[in-house]
């Protein structure tokens, strides 16, 4: 099934600059419906009222981290099937394992490039041109 590039994507990061970078990269990949949150709790509120097809989240944020957000999403019957990509500078294997155990769909280590973002998005959403 073709990927719907009109889906709503939620990006979560406490660095405004990083939100802007990811938004621009998504735009270049053809995804224009992008919302932003600056921590996990804000993201959770937006997820509960919105209709999102993909979450791209940083890990290290306050007060709610990306890992906590992931656990909340996976524990919520309405949200649990939304693909969740972690984009983080946390590159220790124990971090990746913890994220995987919490149900992460894919994991991108910062710094990253557009090709990596596209590849990881394709792996969770299906191929898109």
């Amino acid at each position: 099934m073709a990927v719907d590039k009109n889906m709503n994507v939620l990006i979560v990061d406490d660095y405004k600059t990083m939100l802007r970078i990811i938004r621009n990269l998504l735009k270049q990949l053809g995804f224009n419906n992008v919302d932003e949150a600056t921590d996990g709790s804000m993201a959770l509120q937006m997820l509960r009222v919105g209709n999102y097809g993909l979450i791209i989240s940083d890990w290290n944020m306050e007060p709610m981290t990306g890992l906590q957000l992931l656990r909340e999403v996976r524990a919520d019957a309405k949200l649990k099937s939304i693909p969740f990509i972690m984009v983080t500078a946390e590159s220790k294997s124990e971090n990746v394992i913890a994220a995987k155990e919490a149900g992460v769909s894919n994991y991108i280590v910062k710094p990253f490039n557009a090709e990596t973002l596209k590849t990881k998005m394709s792996s969770v959403l299906g191929d898109f041109a």
Partner: protein, 212 residues
Amino acid sequence: MPAKGVDRDLSLRLDAVRREHGDTVRVDQVAEVVRAMLDTTSGDIDAGDLRLYREIESLADYIHAAKAEIAALRPGEIKNEFIASATDELDAIVGATEAATNEIMDSAEHLESLAPMMDAQVAERLTEITTRIFEACTFQDITGQRITKVVKMLKEIEGRVENLVKAFGSEMDAPKAEKAAPTCDEHLLNGPQLPSNAADQAEIDRLLASFD
């Protein structure tokens, strides 16, 4: 004084010091208790007590020497000047790189907005180039996180130095050693000023004009 009486007196004195100062007790206060206890035992000590007395005396000498060495490091100065200055400089780096990154991205977004006005091949190439610019801008997030970690470490060191200063009392705030006279124009080499201290170009121009 019988040994049990000495123990009780020592216990009472230590309790009094603890009540007054909590768990952070200055070395000179400990020395005072030891001195008082030794005074109470004078004329009533045997060979074993004398060995103990010498051990305590050498311990006191050791503590005094260590205290003098730590005071020479001027921990108050480390805390108030060096660490505070280093964290300000690091915060300024984060602010400056963030501002520069946003400027770069503004320009890249403006460039990208020109793509629809170009032929398809040129527009595609332009988009590739702006993508590279956006990718490169991720450096700011990484450097920002690394610098934040360093600032946290410096704050931790600052806290420990502060505890040291508290434990040793006001003697740690010894006057600053006179710095060696700067050679040549060394005193003018201060590096970039923090934004809060820096003069802008208009101020510089006014200053220059004031010489005319």
